[in-house]
Amino acid sequence: MREEQLRDILHHMPAGVVTLQGPELRFGFVNEAMRAVLGDGVREGQSIAEPAGLVPADLLEVMQQVYQSDRPFVAKSYCIPQPAADGQPPRLRYFDIALEPVHEGGGPVSGLLLFAVDVTVQEEARQRAHELSIETRRLDTRLRVLTETVPQITFTINAEGKFEYVSPQWYYFTGQPPTTDLNAIWPLLIHPDDRLRVLYQADTARASGIGWNFEYRLRRHDGQYRWLLSRALPEFLAPDKPVFWHGALTEIHDQRELSEALRQGEAELRFLADSIPELIWTATSDGFIDYYNQFTGEYTGLTQEELGPTGWINLLEPSEQAGAARRWVQSIATGEPYESLCRMRRHDGHYRWHIIRARQLTDTRGPRWFGACTDVDDQHRLREVLQTQYDELARTNRDLDTFVYTASHDLKQPLLNLRGLFDELRRTATFHDPEDAKIQGMVDGALTQLDATLQELAATVQDQRGLTAPAEALDLRSVAEEVLLGLRAQVQDIGAAVELDFEAVPTLTYGRANLRSILHNLLSNALKFADAERTPLVRVQSQLTEAGRPVLRVEDNGLGMVLPDNSTAVFQPFTRQHPHIAGAGVGMYLVQRIVTSRGGHLDVASTVGEGTTFTIYWFD
């Protein structure tokens, strides 16, 4: 019963058990596990050597030697190829094999006992581990080559902040010997101005278990401090428990110098822009202002936010805004330079003339606009004054021409009379003295010369001034406004109000230069003789007489004057009512001459201390 039990146990053991008997090694007991290994061709009493190839030759030989030498033998991970079965590829199986000599009845060796434990799984695992370690070594080598050839310095720091590894580049860079104490030396190589900050930042990052990214200067082997970028990330073995920080140091000195130079350059340019007492600004390619210089703020009293991307338009004189906006959109659309002359509001509400200019710059940073507003107010005003003076001179010149013309004209008749009288005298009187005949000839010559001179004078002036230009239909208002434009300095000076009313007779057919001359003289007289006691008021009005003839009335509230009995005396040349007021005194004479020469007449009414009214009857 016990033996049977034992057999049963042996039969089902997961290890192979076989007994081999006699020097021929004949199969005795073969358990199930062993049958599975050796296959079905195993018969009791058959020699293990018989079915050729059942056991590898080397194992067979070892078995025979164990039998002969009576010494047990153990083989680890011995490979027995398994025959291919069911289309499966042949598989290598590994066994730990133990061979024991058997002594039946205590005599010499009578057989062998063979144990075979299947260790295939363990063997495969071992082989995999081996392969892995080879691969790891390969990767390790690759990593080392990489870390030692990249231009960066790579490093590993542990949780205590001590360097575990630093790539050889560090030694090349710093010139330190390989034996140097990294942890002691490193902080000393950091630029003194950066040291505390770097140590603190790295420390803080380690304490919070996060990576870092900062820049500092490290001393190079040649003693020069170079800017480096230090970046590191933590490695976690367990969540929330970083144990290493791996990182790299990249030299960024040149970039940093460059951007420093750029920053510096930009700061300098900005400083320059801010120091110029001119409005300077830049705009995006889309036309939105993104920078105004400091002076813009001072001039306008507004901040960049208040001005906004298009708010500069609001600073312009309202009537100029639309045109400026149109031209700016046009410039943005075409890229053409922008230029305009505008009045720009100062913080105190005063408008000053500016030339606004902007040009587009296209470089690697894309198109941008640069603009400046130059204050030309003083130049502009000076030009206005000069223009007024020029107008005044031109008018005086014209008046003098007119005077010369009319005077020459006026002198013609008396000359004609003189010539008639002289001819009559020569015909009727008798002269005996031969000297008299000579004098006669001289008088004759003088008269002829005078006539020629007068004619020449008239002709010259006439040609130059077009005083005898044909009459044309003239818009009274536009001519009057033109004349007032030339007088605006005087109007502004005394703060006069000028009312124009041409509703009744808007147009007049007259010589243009003549009409201008008349209006100019009447208006400038009215302004000149204003009464400082009251606000000067000049009213210009066109009317029709009862007979339907056009009339122009120029009325002022000025000093007024005492009219002589014969009012035409007012119009004599060089008659001056108010000697303290400057003037050639020919003005009214001219007006009268023009009006009468064109077939009309001039009328005047005046009260001292109240004002004067001139009435022109254009055509009688």
Binding site: D286, G287, F288, G308, P309, T310, G311, W312, I313, N314, Q321, A322, A325, R326, W328, V329, Q330, I332, A333, T334
Partner: protein, 151 residues
């Protein structure tokens, strides 16, 4: 009442369907909340003017600027206005397939856009002209358009 003008870039080009969906969504939402204005779209460039009460517009702009369909949202103006300048909300873009769109309520072809309303200040009208120029380019700016803006 305030108005806000911004420009942005679409994250990827918007298709006809995308634009139509946006048009539909905005038209209804805006009408309900009394938001008016105009949106320009072309080749990924976006510009929009919206006007309405600040308590509606400020959170709306917040939401729009966080909308994943576009990015790089740059606000150009955000200020008080006396009156509305747009009677409704509309969108102007070039659909690939224009037929069908023309009949859509609130849709405009870019060259059908009129000059900015005269209720806008000249500075604001110029701003609208500039964003329109930035989105559609000079071709869709009719020569007389700029002229008539401030007539």
């Amino acid at each position: 009442m305030i108005h806000i003008v911004y420009m942005s870039r679409a994250v990827r080009p918007l298709s006809d369907e995308d634009l139509q969906a946006l048009l539909g969504q905005c038209r209804d939402d805006n009408a309900r909340r009394n938001v008016t204005g105009v949106l320009f779209y072309s080749h990924g460039h976006i510009a929009q003017l919206i006007e309405g009460e600040p308590e509606i517009l400020e959170p709306l702009f917040d939401k729009i600027s966080r909308d994943g369909r576009h990015s790089d949202v740059r606000k150009l103006v955000d200020k008080r206005i006396a009156t509305r300048s747009f009677s409704e909300w509309s969108m102007a873009f070039h659909p690939l397939e224009p037929t069908g769109f023309e009949a859509l309520e609130g849709f405009l072809l870019p060259h059908k856009l009129t000059a900015p309303p005269s209720t806008l200040t000249i500075a604001d009208a110029m701003l609208v002209d500039l964003v329109r120029l930035a989105v559609f380019g000079p071709e869709t700016m009719p020569a007389e358009h700029v002229e008539s803006v401030h007539a």
